[in-house]
Symmetry: C2
Subunit: 180 residues, 2 copies
């Protein structure tokens, strides 16, 4: 079956710092016309960082879209400072949690909300963490509290709603499955 939608017209809506927004007019497989709203976003990484005493490192920070603090794994955009996704992992762990991992492994890649956005994230496992020697500056306006939790604690934080972030839930599930 051919599902392809052909773009008939593309209208730029917004050119921002983090996102670009585009409205497309597309021709559907049945010949009809429809509109698609698309939020373009550069790639990102998220890290399941496990300490030597088998705890996950989490961050509490303010998130403007939900007007509240959230608890999430370390994560960030892949930007012009990064040669590749792997480099972004090392940089973000330095900036945010002040550790350098001796072991880094890619777990999976995914679109965070493919219905309206092309944001693609790779999830990594980082272990054998050592304190960084040369601390990189944090992003301006980034305020973080670092938490370390056991697997049982992290799982119960999903159940009681303290953790409500997709990539973080996915990472904790992955951690549970590693020990099956």
């Amino acid at each position: 079956m051919d599902f392809e939608e052909h773009v008939v017209k593309s209208q730029p809506i917004y050119d921002g710092a983090i996102i670009n927004v585009e409205k497309q007019t597309v021709r559907l497989p049945n010949g009809q016309t429809a509109y698609r709203e698309i939020v373009h976003h550069s790639g990102a990484i998220g890290v399941l960082a496990i300490t030597r005493d088998n705890k996950i490192i989490l961050e509490r920070q303010w998130r403007a879209p939900v007007k509240a603090t959230t608890i999430e794994i370390p994560a960030g955009k892949v930007d012009q400072r990064d040669a590749d996704f792997h480099h972004a992992v090392i940089r973000e762990l330095n900036e945010e949690i002040r550790y350098t991992p001796k072991h880094v492994e890619e777990l999976c890649g995914f679109y965070s909300s493919v219905g309206f956005s092309d944001e693609y994230m790779k999830l990594y496992l980082a272990t054998d963490l050592e304190p960084v020697k040369d601390k990189l500056p944090r992003d301006k306006g980034e305020f973080l509290e670092i938490l370390e939790k056991t697997q049982a604690q992290a799982v119960s934080m999903i159940k009681n709603g303290e953790i409500q972030d997709a990539k973080t839930i996915m990472a904790i599930q992955h951690w549970q499955l590693m020990q099956k």
Copy 2:
């Protein structure tokens, strides 16, 4: 520690069918000013639907943001037709996969990409599926292919990159953990 950002100014950027976009000027905890780009989205549901012979129901469909077909669990926006999230589950399963579940259970709730969007999704388990008697019309412009996969097949589809959708990976991992 007080992380709260105070909104100093809100500028509407785009008022669309699926998303609204807003640019905020915020005052940070240290008194400095920063900008936040926010994509507002109504709530959504995703469903881990398991057949009587223990297969997951998946959908292949075209996704404009990534210019390709993706493989995902049944999902959709909670809209004005829905009294609540649970109603959206029943409606979406009817429209998309033509099954009615006798058992529906909420698994977890999450923000799909909390860095720039308030999209909140609830993930449900649906079992004891029976063919629907009264088929609801599909959304205009929705073209779907339905797949049924064993757990081993679904897990290998994540590993080989055929499945790259966050909510779908989360649902499959949940399914694996149910059988620990």
